[in-house]
């Protein structure tokens, strides 16, 4: 594998909430097109890390470089425009809009700023193509408020795709889904990855992480305790202990 310049370089990220240390000097490096899994017990800081990377909250100390550019001071919408896109654990659709309408927002406000994207076709047509890809084309004009769980997750993913990400952070997209539905989501993510999008998958469903990631990062109590291929990580004594308890 040719070593490329890293896409995302987060160094020594620290975040406290009052007296509680959520992240303690966490380093994360993602290369273009990589598939990385991020796992850890509940409360280990995964969501906080996602929030810091995407800009929903600001980290206390530490630097974040994306495509060589320092982004830790940039607001979330700017980071999205640069190509870091995240989905939410609990889907947050724009309830007053239809499914296709939901996609026009990132197309107009994020994708438009990515060089080379959205030439020729208008927002609406592009949105329909993306819905086709995720299997929601027939629900295009339905209200986004009345979808099933897996449809909401797909919409959340579709909306992220519409922002034309270079790096997609998929935050527990598969929680609570059936086996078949989990497979659907995994294949969607693989399809996306084939197009060159780096993906960080945050999951508790181990078989998904094993199947999907090239590299797995483990977070426990705000610290990174492992960062290696999935096989190595799953057999690491400390990781096992963290999941099964002391």
């Amino acid at each position: 594998m040719i070593l490329q310049a890293p896409l995302l370089e987060a160094t020594s990220i620290r975040k406290r909430f009052g007296g509680f240390v959520a992240l303690d000097a966490v380093d994360v490096t993602i290369r273009p097109g990589e598939r990385v899994g991020l796992i850890g017990p509940n409360g280990s800081g995964k969501s906080t890390l996602v929030n810091c990377l995407s800009g929903a909250i600001t980290n206390d100390t530490g630097t974040i470089r994306f495509d060589g550019r320092a982004i830790e001071r940039l607001p979330a919408h700017h980071r999205t425009r640069l190509g870091i896109v995240r989905t939410f654990q609990m889907p947050l659709p724009f309830a007053s809009m239809s499914v296709v309408g939901n996609l026009t927002i990132p197309l107009r406000f994020a994708a438009r700023y990515r060089p080379g994207c959205s030439e020729g076709k208008n927002d609406f047509e592009q949105a329909l193509l993306i819905l086709e890809d995720v299997g929601l084309r027939d629900k295009a004009h339905a209200s986004s408020a009345g979808l099933t769980q897996v449809e909401m997750r797909k919409l959340e993913l579709a909306r992220a795709v519409a922002a034309r990400p270079k790096l997609l952070i998929a935050d527990e997209t598969m929680a609570g889904l059936s086996n078949a539905e989990v497979d659907e989501i995994i294949s969607l993510l693989l399809k996306l990855n084939n197009q060159g999008v780096a993906i960080i998958m945050i999951e508790h469903i181990m078989r998904a992480v094993m199947a999907f990631s090239q590299r797995t990062i483990v977070l426990v109590a705000g610290k990174k305790i492992a960062d290696d291929s999935p096989d190595v990580v799953m057999n690491d004594a400390e990781v096992v202990r963290a999941y099964l308890g002391e």
Partner: protein, 318 residues
């Protein structure tokens, strides 16, 4: 037959009203009509921020009064043409909106709402203590006897307010159908998701506040000439605050036509009630309608029509 673009309608209606104003001799209709049109401006302006983005502004009176007292200052200094006063009133109100917005819009919407209320009271207190514009004693603004091209100055004021109403409605419509309007709608639905989809939420909210405040200031600018005696209680009247919210709510907050419907409906009801019953009771009616609609029909009259339409066709809005 080609479809008539919707922006033509406000102009057509305004044209009809203008024609009527030339014919109708009874000045009472000018006075009453001015108030209705003023509320069309206030309601449309309020809705640009409140309806489209979901950030409730309780301080409409503040922006209105900035326009009104701006005219008082100008009247004392050099008595410019009304159009100049309107323009300047709009600019100043817009800038105040900018500062307030920038300071408070990074917090939750609730804090913005409370801050706008605080702003109204702070400004009222400042004006009360400012003797140059009359303080608590008020200011007598002499209405010019006549003006070229109009049968009376009152008629002129009516037409000016009509023009402002058309402007406010067209601005609201333009914003609503533009990408700014879509961004505001995304903010209203879920601000966090909007921000993460690339919507520059702070920038859009500040923009909406500036436009909203500016239009309200413009609505207030002719007021001293209309009422001829301006004091802080009438300029900062609580009625402006509550009507600005109730009218878009009753009419419907998602479309530009909603505030117009709500303004005409509620303003006419209030005028009738003031004349027939009492002026306190008509405010009670507004408060009651506010509570009623927000509980039962939060999307207003327009929302009720849309719901009916959706049930018939089974489609959602794009």
């Amino acid at each position: 037959m080609t479809r008539v673009p919707s922006w033509v309608w406000p102009i057509v209606v305004a044209g009809l009203v203008l024609a009527a104003s030339r014919v109708v001799k009874n000045e009472y209709y000018m006075f009453a009509g001015y108030v209705v049109l003023q509320y069309v401006v206030l309601a449309s302006a309020w809705n640009i921020l409140g309806g489209y983005s979901g950030y409730v502004n309780f301080g409409s009176a503040a922006f209105f009064a900035i326009g009104a007292y701006g005219t008082v200052v100008l009247d004392k200094l050099w008595q410019p043409p009304l159009v100049v006063a309107i323009f300047l009133g709009g600019i100043v109100a817009s800038l105040v909106g900018l500062v307030t917005a920038y300071l408070t819009l990074r917090l939750r919407g609730v804090f913005f709402a409370i801050a706008t209320l605080a702003l109204a009271i702070v400004l009222q207190t400042l004006v009360m203590n400012w003797d140059y514009v009359g303080g608590p004693l008020g200011y007598y603004c002499v209405r010019p006897d006549s003006i070229v091209g109009f049968p009376s100055y009152v008629n002129y004021l009516f037409v000016v307010m009509l023009a402002l109403a058309v402007i406010a409605v067209l601005v609201a419509r333009a914003i609503e159908s533009s990408f700014i309007g879509r961004g505001l709608a995304a903010i209203r639905d879920n601000e966090l998701a909007a921000e993460c989809c690339g919507v520059p939420t702070l920038r859009l909210k500040v923009f909406a506040t500036m436009v909203s405040g500016g239009l309200m200031g413009m609505a207030g600018a002719p007021f001293p000439y209309y009422i001829t005696y301006l004091d802080p209680n009438s300029a900062f009247s609580f009625a402006y605050g509550i009507n600005s919210i109730a009218m878009p709510l009753v009419g419907g907050m998602t479309r530009w036509i909603g505030p117009v419907i709500g303004a005409v409906l509620l303003a006419v009801i209030q005028q009738v009630a003031t004349v027939t019953i009492s002026s306190e009771l008509n405010l009670m009616i507004v408060g009651g309608l506010l509570i009623g609609f927000i509980t039962v029909a939060p999307n207003g009259i327009v929302g009720l029509f849309e719901q009916y339409g959706q049930q018939r066709h089974g489609r959602a809005s794009p």
